[in-house]
Symmetry: D2
């Protein structure tokens, strides 16, 4: 980052941190924080306070430009200091990634209709991509995409089932990914198209909200049945049949923004565990004076430092213009695993208090467990990194 | 085990497994399974079915004798195949340990009054031992015991605060541990006494039920305020001032029975994850045909085998008449850590489904996380094992 | 084990331990312990002392019967208390496995010629199975076997290259595994035959002895070129074309005997590290009083206990008559990984002394590193366990 | 780094890498690479080639200035691509740290006498700091320093025993650390002084060279007896009694330079393992196409990336003028542990070849094992990081 960027990002980050620590944190015990995330009412209340404090959608500048990824890292980590923080200041998934994508490839009309209310914090959005594994649909493997979009006159008609659609309940804006070569015209190559839709929509039925181990995302994660959803061409996001390419554009920054937010949450858990260990005694001394505890906190400090460095490294790669597919896979694996170790140690250091909801540590632990699955489980990323190592090695072996 | 024991235990275990798999498992989605465990009504319903099936309190023989620990392992593992299983067949904590303790040191009158309804499955009990860390009370370190019992005429008067009292809400029987040398008579040595009390009791106030990551124990975990609780001598369990000794007697078997039950639950999670991996496909093949998945399941098989061996080894030590303090510490650490690895891998193998409550795997993961804390966190056990290693080594060095 | 077995094995084990601790251990600093194992002269000297002490080949009874596997475990663990111990008392690989195999399937004449001198401790043997990976030969994957045996009149003629042939240098007896369907007669199915040969032999050339991280095996590990080796039918071990079956018979006990011996060595390393930690001070207290050190020793105690239980469990499976292929894979993975953790912690506890050859801990660490590869790397075993899990699960799913 | 620094460092690093890969690597099989490191003759030969290639002492500029730490990282990683590389180009420990220290605090005369020949690559040096644990001397705990320096007229007289003195054999320059408040004048506070001495010296006797698991350092690691070593004041390095302060100055950069060099060596091991996995087949496909192998290489890529980031982060801290005590502890723990995981996986991926000296992987594994001990074992660093966390937390708790 150059000096101007650093100062700009630091200033925003400082205000976001102040807001999250003083205004958002007390809401963590609000009964409107349910098992499917904070209620819509609570989201509105938090955002209204963020708007007043000038920290709403802090990573997008007034003209619509986004901060660089490195700057975004600085800001999003602070927004994540509470599990409620990202929702409060509008840096949460999936909105953050959806705003980025629409901003990059949407038309002016689409931006006005779909993007503006998201940036204003007046609406939420959902990204209809993954499908139920039980039906052989696309989970981690996008080539298995089964939802179809076929032409019918000047409409597209979309049918399929989507699973794990975060925030679908309560969202006003949806991006639906569907297989657009339906095989009807003999085209065998899989291609996909993205569509923008207003929500709720009579052809999109929320079958159920999954009960999951995590509980920070408003609307939870839905299973959704799409039947005969008709959309016009002006709702195609970008060009038709280019959905996989756009998914790649969204992929790395979205993946990395998860790392940023959860880094903040885990940092907070570490602060809580550290203060606990520095004030409670057992077996004749402060907990932290037991090496068994002190070492865990030292390992936390190292893991948090490493995770931060991986985030910033990958952010710089993205700022350099690369898709960063492999780098963001490496960052996702390293950061998710490191943050889980940290969260797990925080629970352990705090004993009975650690497994209770008396502090936010218990929730952070649950959220990070889910994070090791969301946006691609560790194993899928390792598989993809190994493929790249093979490609690079074989081309080196054969090329020289 | 000799042949007679093996046959007896196998026969009981088989019936318990059949009951849990066919009758209990369907209740796992019953809405009466709340975040503080199954409701009292649900517990009654399950026990009534267990009674009818002849599998209630299966580890205690009609005459009151307990199965050996090795036999108990065989039975309790099966009862644990569902998180609801132990409650259903009355092998759950803390009742199982409390029945063992009262059976060993209670008077005939105490057994009739307090033990009989527990064995009959008509009552639940609570063990009032641990105290809030925030107040410097006894968590893992019993020497910090702050609840006091002082003589007042022919009564004892008990005052203090207890925390993490599992099942206190809804219990009919309580065992209260209190410091019985109050310092008033100049006695500096810490001693403790155990008292049997009927619950609910006006002098014992449930301040709150903790919200915790686990959710299998009826009544959850309570914070309890005891103020001026007056009991007569006939409610002293065993001899006065011998509480720490009795705690030792209860300790190892209770600790080990946790290992047994959770071994069952984790075995079930592994079955579910294995079936998932053998029926779902991604990237062109069954999940289990991906080494990244298959290796995790292989590691599960190894961990479950090792955990079972540690349980049986420790059970045999206890059956041999030893207190098994060190052996049960070793077993607790090894089993809790192994089962957590297994549960974590099951979640990971199942991806999005793994972090959802669509299967019981998600709950098992949460329960086992808590288990790494309950009955002494891993670190306290390692500390105690290291102390023993030092003692043995120094005596060897100096003794020879 | 029944009582008679237990007593018999304990008595032998006790004598073996006494011999290893008092007679063998002082030889650990003998300069004849080279990087390719103890010299032949040293082996003879040690065996002569073992013979005199009545502990030579202690796991084979005078009549030629072997102890049960459970008994063998008791004895071989003690023989392993020094890396020199197994060679000294003739329980070392590959002789131990070769004696077992020839004893099981050799003819009377073969036993007299090849087995008797091995049992007497007058000869060593080698098992010519694995082949160089560089040439695409059979490493962990036996189906890649490239050494061929073809009929020529009443002879077999064997050609090929073998790698990692432990103890080939100095051995008098060899078992050579070769592909015996040469494709000449249109037989596509891979089959193999085992041959017994006297060594050294002019048609078997030791190309080089590998320099390896381990250094306990006399003769080291050789790369061997076999060219036009002619043998008669009476040198076929068992039946022709049944080599893979015999390899399976040898496999599990040989694999498990490695676990037994290395368990002994690692136990010794743990004793040394424990005594070190109980006598050295840093930062104001004994090393063991630092939890960072004490916890490592506690983890060692747990790992050693678990490894012992896995060995005994697998031994009992083999004694029950099963091939134990999957069980010995599970035991190999669990034991090799556990012993490596133990050895690594011993090094760490002892700091600079741990990485020096001032104690045998450094060698044990190196040996166990190699052990994680020898007899099948961990990954091959996990692959094979996963295959079994799949088979069992699918048959369960389809069978019900 | 600014642009000028980046270009300068890249250019040097490129030349160093070219030299190491083409000139040094073939020497790895030179028989003069012994178990106590390369012989003096071999060192001279390598350095003569480095001098000719213009890559000798590449991190020190002609005028005597050192590259920044960030630049040094770039260069030293490349020098480490072979275990012989640092010795060849004169970036090895302990010379690199000794040159830095003498350069910072030596007098002009001292620099001429002791530093110039080191920079010219004509001499080697040793740092006499650590003492034998067996005698209760200073290992990781400097407060236990037992070697004494007492005034005798205008001389200092030094007595003591030092252990693990890397490169003492063959060194021309020594820095000796001794306790300089001898208690004679009633001064209770421990202080230490550093002295520069010419080697070999009749009062400094090499008692023995330790046999250790590592083998890259010329001269190995010596145990040294210092008896009545008399030095004049002009041989005091810096001010008397300030030895602990100077040790701190040397500490972090020396620690970090280990990380840099071993990062290079491990990168090389990873390259070798990757090429192995991309060219060898087992069970029907290339090794790397087995997820069990591919995942290990992916984990290597992540670990190497993280280690590099930690090194650069700590280098930047040092370049900012901080002592970086805590940061270099964090970097040491993270990097040593990560590199060990990488080296261990490389061995495992390569199977039998991995544990043989057919490639340099086996040596790298052994070197990195020692590195987890050298310059402070992981546990000492965690202890020190935990102390800092406690200080920071308590000051935060009390300060606000």
């Amino acid at each position: 980052m150059d000096v101007v960027q650093t100062e700009r990002a630091s200033e925003i980050a400082k205000r976001v941190e102040e807001f999250v620590r003083t205004v958002v944190v007390p809401y963590e015990r609000d009964p409107r924080c349910g098992s499917h995330g904070p209620s819509e009412e609570l989201v509105r209340e938090l955002r209204s306070k963020a708007r007043a404090a000038g920290v709403l959608t802090p990573h997008i500048l007034p003209g619509g430009d986004h901060l660089t990824q490195l700057e975004t890292a600085t800001v999003l980590k602070r927004s994540g200091l509470s599990p409620l923080g990202p929702v409060a200041v509008n840096t949460a998934a999936p909105d953050e990634g959806n705003m980025l994508l629409i901003g990059k490839i949407g038309t002016a009309a689409q931006k006005k209709r779909f993007l503006a209310p998201l940036i204003a914090g007046d609406a939420r959005s959902a990204f209809f991509m993954t499908e139920p594994a039980a039906d052989g649909g696309a989970g981690s493997d996008p080539s298995m995409l089964q939802t179809t979009a076929r032409r019918d006159g000047d409409h597209w008609v979309i049918d399929g089932t989507k699973a794990f659609i975060t925030g679908a309940e309560g969202a006003s804006v949806g991006i639906v990914m569907a297989r657009s070569n339906t095989g009807e015209d003999g085209d065998e190559k899989v291609s996909a198209t993205m569509f923008l839709v207003d929500l709720p929509h009579p052809s999109i039925r929320l079958e159920r909200i999954l009960d999951t181990i995590d509980s920070s995302m408003p609307g939870g994660h839905a299973v959704v049945r799409i039947e005969g959803l008709r959309v016009l061409d002006d709702q195609v996001l970008g060009a038709a049949h280019e959905g996989f390419k756009y998914a790649q554009i969204r992929l790395s920054p979205a993946r990395l923004s998860h790392c940023m937010r959860w880094h903040g949450a885990t940092t907070r858990a570490h602060e809580i565990a550290t203060q606990y260990a520095c004030t409670r005694r057992a077996f004749g001394k402060l907990l932290i004076d037991h090496e068994g505890v002190g070492f865990m906190l030292a390992e936390n400090a190292i893991d948090l430092q490493q995770a931060e460095l991986m985030i910033d490294w990958c952010a710089a790669v993205l700022d350099g213009g690369s898709l960063g597919t492999s780098e963001s896979s490496m960052a996702k694996v390293a950061v998710a695993d490191a943050l889980f170790r940290v969260a797990d140690r925080c629970v352990q250091v705090m004993g009975g208090t650690g497994v209770s909801r008396d502090t936010v540590v218990e929730q952070v632990f649950r959220e990070i467990r889910a994070f090791r699955i969301y946006d691609g489980p560790t194993e899928v990323h390792k598989w993809s990194i190994a493929k790249k190592i093979k490609r690079d090695t074989l081309s080196g072996l054969h090329g020289a």
